[in-house]
Amino acid sequence: MTIESDTKTVRLVKWLDTRLGLSYPLLRPVPAYAINPFYWLGALPVVAFLIQGITGVIMILYYVPTPTAAYTSTQYIFNRVYYGRFLETVHLYTAYAMIMLAFMHLMRDYFVSAHKKPREIMWVVGMIMGFVTLGFGFTGYLLPWTVVSKSATDVGVGMIDALPSVISSRLSFLVVGGGGDATELLRFYDLHIIVLPAVLLALLTIKLYMLEVHGISEPTGSKKDTEQIAIFPDVTIYLMELAAMFGAAMLLISVLFPLTLPPPYTPALASQSIAQPDWYFLWVYQILKISVFEGPGLPIALGMVTLIFILLVLLPFIDRGSSRAIVQRPIFVTLGLIFIGEIIVLAAWGLLTPGQIIPLGQALLVLGGVALIIVVISLSAFHFFAGNAKHTGSPKNTMGKFNASGITAAFAIIVSVGALAIGTSLSSIVHIILNGADLTSVATLGAGLSTLALMIVTSLFLLYMSDRTTGRLRMRNAFFERIARSWN
């Protein structure tokens, strides 16, 4: 009887276990190689989100989302609430850190091919989380109702009108409403404190579930550490360690650069100020300022930016190659570097030229120049690293007086100086074309071109030495001899 009863109990437990997975460990262990901050770049924005939640909930107690009271209530938090300025400062800087870390997480995953099979959906969900994070920045920027924030938001909202009417009318109603400033502020507030956090939490749950299913992506190199570390207490303590250091860094930055409140928004003051978005939207702002995209060209610019985002979301379905190693993906790695370089240059440029329309030629020169420099540096690095990787341990690697890392470092310096020389020369040429030749510009052009020539000769010499070191000189000579024979 007992045996029969036990059997029934065991069967019941097994039945439940099969369906609910009670006997399975709650969270899978983490491989030892993942005890590295680069593997947890996605966890730090979650820590930032938690800090934002805590500071945000305290501020909600005092903030009033109406155009007449928004600024005064923010001022009240600053000046009357205990540690109010500190709360506001920490809230702002953790928001910045959240955006920056999310971007670093995106680019790190891109370079190590974490988007490839079976993690395609994780990438898509992560990208949507990134957009939600930017949404937090966009909606939160308006809330203090300062002249800077309101003017910049008006520019952003104004772009909705450039979209096709079917989309713009619905999007405009969703984001701004139909009741002027009061409705707009209320919608932004609701989006910021209810809709976006709810969406982000839902997406985070989905992403964590998929992380549990697929585990942490393996390193791209040949070394695969198979030692597993339990999620509790070791990995938990490690994450708390990272969170504590992140929190301490945020506090220090908040102390060193305390926030000051800009003047309140009034239509008169807004007409005198130049609308400029926060730093994370500056690159988009700079694209929109290019002369060709002014007026009727605006939808094209918006279309281009949208296309960049769509390509990023669909990346796992575009970059489908089986190889995950960086050295075997020169094109995608170079494209990624160009993306980072252009964003940094556009943002810095946008910061330096508020409200200025950028001529198309100048934009092409700068953006094209940046892309060219990155292509040269990236492909040169691939030339050396791929060559050295191919010939590591080879008996051919006996001739060189220079070691590989020395040549790579020297070549990197040469390329950087060469890039500066190209920039100086181009700048001088533009100056001469626009303002005529004078002694300074001609001398600068001469110095730039001479430096460039010197760098080209030195880099050719280094290429020769590198090829001698890696034994490819013989292969290259044989290749040219074959071409010469075919001509004869």
Binding site: F78, N79, F86, E241, G247, L251, V255
Partner: protein, 99 residues
């Protein structure tokens, strides 16, 4: 191993002292904001160092003196910045109706 225990004890003591100071601050005072942030940062940094040491000792791996040294330098800088927080507070730009 004994030295590790001494370091850990010192860090925990510092954390406790810092936490005690944290709660003794006058929240209505603008200078306290800076002190509050610095004491909290000291607490967090101490916690990170204790957690790091615990994790390494548990796995039987040697604690890297570089990290402990960097953390200690960070703590010293923070402790000095507490003493200079009065000057730091002057950097704050108060609103017209500020405290």
């Amino acid at each position: 191993m004994e030295l590790n225990k001494v370091i850990l004890s010192l860090l925990i003591c510092l954390q406790l002292i810092s936490a005690t100071f944290l709660w003794s601050l006058n929240a209505a005072d603008v200078i306290s904001e800076v002190k509050f942030a610095v004491f909290l940062a000291i607490d967090l940094l101490c916690f990170a160092m204790v957690a790091y040491s615990y994790r390494k000792l548990k796995r039987g791996v040697l604690i890297s003196p570089v990290w402990i040294l960097l953390g200690s330098i960070g703590l010293i800088v923070l402790l000095f910045s507490v003493s200079s927080s009065h000057r730091r507070a002057a950097v704050y730009t108060l609103s017209p109706d500020g405290r």
